[in-house]
Amino acid sequence: MNSIKKALLVDDTEIDLYITRCLMEAGGFADEILTRTSAMEALAYLRINADNPEQLPDVIFLDIRMPVMDGFGFLEQFELLSESIRNHCTIYMLSSSLDYEDLARAHCNPFVSAFLNKPLYPETLLNLKCQLLQRSSLNNNKQ
């Protein structure tokens, strides 16, 4: 695998979605970038495409502070999704929060690969892409 096919961005702030998309597009992070403004919408998208792996995002960037259902609420629901979805998606928390509690919760969650702080920088995205591609190639070799 040479590239990341789909990235899903979940954030209630339109501006932040715009910023991340711009950075990803500029750095060629993923072939396709999807955005959702609430955890519920993102979960709905995953459920709809549960049997359609081509449509499932390889990477999810998840904000914490969102109305009604926050990032951790999303993770609780994500746990209940099918194994194919869970194995397919690598989740990164992307938040402006500096709260130690949020950080700890994120680290404790098995589905969260890393906690990223806003603002996002191009170098960070580049590093992430390398890690993701390495990991997927390791997985492919195993298979």
Binding site: I64, R65, S96, D102, L120
Partner: protein, 832 residues
Amino acid sequence: MPTSYLNKMHPIQITYGTNGISLPLFVSLLLIVITLLYILHVIRKKNKVIELLQEEANTNENELNNLQSTATRYQNSFINSPAAMAVLQLTDGKILDCNTSFEILTGFSKSTLVSSPASAFNKGMFHSADQLNEILLQLKDKHKLYNIEVTLNNINGDKCITLGSFEVIYIDNKFTCFATFIDITAWKKTEQALIDSENFAYAALDSLSSQIAILDESSYPIYTNTFWNENFAELFSSKMKSETGIDLLTKFKNNYSNAEYFIQFAEAINSVISGTSGDSLFEFSVANNDTTHWYACRISRFTQSEYLRIIISIDNITVLRKAELEKIQSEIRYQAIFENALEGIFQCDPQGNFLTVNQALATISGYASPAELLMQQKDLSTLMGFNSYQDSAFHSFMQTNRSIKGIECNISQKPGETKQLMLKAHPVFSNSGELLRIEGTVEDITERKKAELALENSEYMLRTIFENTKQAFILLDKELNILNWNHKAQEEIVSVTGLHIRENTSITEYIPRRYISDFKDMIAEVFEGKHLTKQIKVRSLNGDLRWFEITLVSYQNDIGMEGFILSSTDITMAKASEERINNQVGMLQKTNHELDKFVYSVSHDLRAPLTSILGLINIAMYETSKPVLEKHLNMISSCVNRLDGFIQDILNYSRNSRQEINSEPVNFRQLLAETRSDLKHMNGENRIRIKGEINDFTPFHSDALRISIILNNLLANAIKYSDPEKADSYIEVTINTEPSRCTINISDNGIGIDAEHQNKVFEMFYRVSHSIPGAGLGLYIVKETVAKLHGTIKLQSKVGRGSAFVITLPDLSDLNTKKRISNEFNQESTSR
């Protein structure tokens, strides 16, 4: 002498005439005549000796004459003899003749006696008829019997003891018994009395516990009594017949050379016998094995029928001596006690004059020795410094045989130095009820008094503390009866129950009924050696609510468990401040929680726009297209606005919580107009119809600034959450003022709030919509502000239909009154 006369006489029977011729004379004459006849007969037969006979006849004639005179004399003697005489028939004792004395002796007349037959009378007169027969029998052989004791019965039947002599004589050709009786009755009686008295004396001597011996002048023991024979037989005894006339001294020296006392004894006897000393009195001891006996001996002399007699009386005084020894020893001991006692001891005569005093009394009263004291002080009253009243009281007590258990007296020996003495005295009376002396003790109690005073002072001090402490104390016995209490306890019991504490009443009488079982539980626990503290709330009679901290402790003395100490402290003030602190802690906790939330929010909501701005700047750096850059700048601007709005929210919140409430007349029309103009720049404001209905006929007072914050937030929310699907979006604001309150009703036909969120919308930083910007502070601020104005807020909403907020606010024209009411309300509710 006429023979015819004689012949006329009855040959056997002697008749007694009354002519005065006595019997002996007659007998004599008869004898003479018989003798003469016999002589003449012999002369006739023997002629050869006629001449001789003639001579003899002459001689006989002379003799006859002599005989005749003699017979006469005898006759007279017989009749007049003082001795009783009788002539008895030898065969049977019949009385033939008797003299006057016999008549007197027997009481019978001669004629009666002579005429009576022998058996019927004479033998009856003899006390013993057998004795008479025996006498008569013996006379046949012996002819004469002398000094035979014969008892005769007289005419009265009385016994008459006589000493009788019996002789056979030949009278009138017959052998008869001539009897003489000498009356010894009186003598016999005397003799018996003497024997009796002698027996009595000896019996008395024998029964004596003393050893008695009577010696004659040559030391021969005439009599020794039973005790002597038992204890001193070894010395001598009247039973030792061989000891006649012995020299005791020599004997003792020879036999008992080791017994000194025997020699002393013999010497004493000798000196009394020789008359060189009067009575001899001495004591001696005899050691026998391991016991020593002590004796007291008295030797004295007396005369018995001109003979010198020695009487020795020995008494065993061992017991006395021992008692005496013990008495001496105990006296020595008492003397020692008397001398060495720390208490002053005295003896006085009935007038109170000192007889003896001991050293201690001398020392106590400031004298060197008892002698010096006796020299200086004659009597007790002066020494003790009695006044006249005390003195007369003292003597009155003594005279009426009452003891004095203790009088305290002050004496001053040196100026400025006073001693306190305690006098105890008791009178000693004789058996006859006479006051013999006064005895007693004097104690120096100066130091003790000082100690007592110190103790009293310290007790007074403790009592003062006890009475003035702010803590109430009640002392209970084991049965929970009240023994003691302090002033505070009384005061508090009165304030709560209206009862006054009485001694020996049960504490349970003073405990409100609902606390009694708790109290008994406490007692049970304290019995197990704990001490308990409990806080109770009580309403006083005047209606005040008061808090007490009750402490119950058991106390003990040397004997063991004695009772309980119940103490109580009024902690109403402490409790009130504790409650204030609790309220403050509650408030602080709330504040802290809010602060935590605030910090969390800051970490996200304040930082979120900033990170967005940074992100925009990052991407703008690589952007060259001017339209895109402008787009980025617009985005940055909206982020800054978002941040600014958030800061304003925080300021509003802060203003509400920190700033004091201002009470002023509220102009709702003006407030609503200002709010509407403030909201003019909001997105979509222009497409929403805002209807206002204000009924403010009644003036209303409250904090206008805070009301504007409420209106601003609620209207902004209504605009934010208006339903874009609806053609006619509207907001209705209705304000009604009434005396003392106002109602603000804001309803819209916006998107509405889901029932599950309705309770949460008032929480801090709670946001419902993802698409609508906001920090989640608006409704929180509204709720807090309404609360600050003592009002209430209610929400009714349905998704898709709209929402309605109803706010009720009280008139705050009398703000201070409201504050006070509010405070009291809070206190009451927390103390329950």
